[in-house]
Symmetry: C2
Subunit: 157 residues, 2 copies
């Protein structure tokens, strides 16, 4: 079997299913997986720029703007002018948002306990290790692709 299917499609399929199941469980809280990830990040480190938040959550600026609009609307976060840079905001989690994260954290961990049921800890560790290696390799490929694109641009001048 090709790696395209056995690694590529299998990884993407698992990711979709993880998102699907977590979204189902979060539904009654009117929260999506991606919104949760943003709130969780702010609960850990609060009052950061959207740029920083986009790095921490691996979401692009455009998508993050939309997600923040939604969680701001439900009063889980607020955007505060950044005194150090008028182009940016500091994103702060509200007490309401904090309470939500604190309520949901054990609930979501319970979901994952079910997800990994029957899988040996060493296997899970191996899984995580390969996740990291693949991610690093891809990051390098992405950088190279960036370089190639930039080189192309320079040639056009």
């Amino acid at each position: 079997m090709s790696m395209d299917k056995s690694i590529g499609s299998a990884s993407v399929r698992l990711s979709k299913k993880m998102t699907r199941i977590v979204n189902l469980y979060l539904r009654s809280y009117h929260l999506t997986t991606e919104q949760w990830v943003v709130l969780r990040a702010l609960h850990e480190i609060d009052g950061i720029t959207q740029k920083e938040l986009s790095h921490r959550t691996d979401k692009d600026q455009a998508t993050l703007t939309k997600i923040l609009d939604l969680v701001e609307k439900r009063k889980a976060v607020i955007r505060v002018a950044n005194p150090a840079d008028r182009r940016s905001f500091l994103i702060k989690i509200t007490e309401q948002g904090r309470a939500l994260v604190e309520e949901l954290t054990p609930y979501i961990e319970e979901i994952f306990i079910r997800m990994v049921a029957g899988i040996k800890p060493e296997k899970l560790e191996a899984y995580q290790e390969v996740l990291g290696l693949l991610e690093s390799n891809i990051e390098q490929l992405l950088e190279q692709t960036d370089l190639e694109r930039r080189n192309k641009s320079e040639r056009n001048i």
Copy 2:
């Protein structure tokens, strides 16, 4: 570290990056990863209903309709009336579509060879095994959630 982050977010992040890099490489072919998956499936087994195709590619009907619209537009597939059921089509890959898959198959495999560079085969096998176990566990959770939802519906009657 919570499994939510170490398993959940890490898996989703990897999946996004895989999709991102493959999309970059496919860009010059004016093809996206998801369109590729559909064409690949049809190259393997052709002339199947959209319903069957949606199972084989793990895509919901609504999304698949859109993707088929796009690949049909570029003449990579055609929809043919299904003589056995007037509600459905048989989706057939064209010669053009077939040629594209045959051209791209080694190219994409090359991408994955780069992605797994430096990772031992046993590690990759372990990764794949855990992928499968997690997916099975989630499928079971999804079924249970379905049952719960149906039970709720019945209670409302």
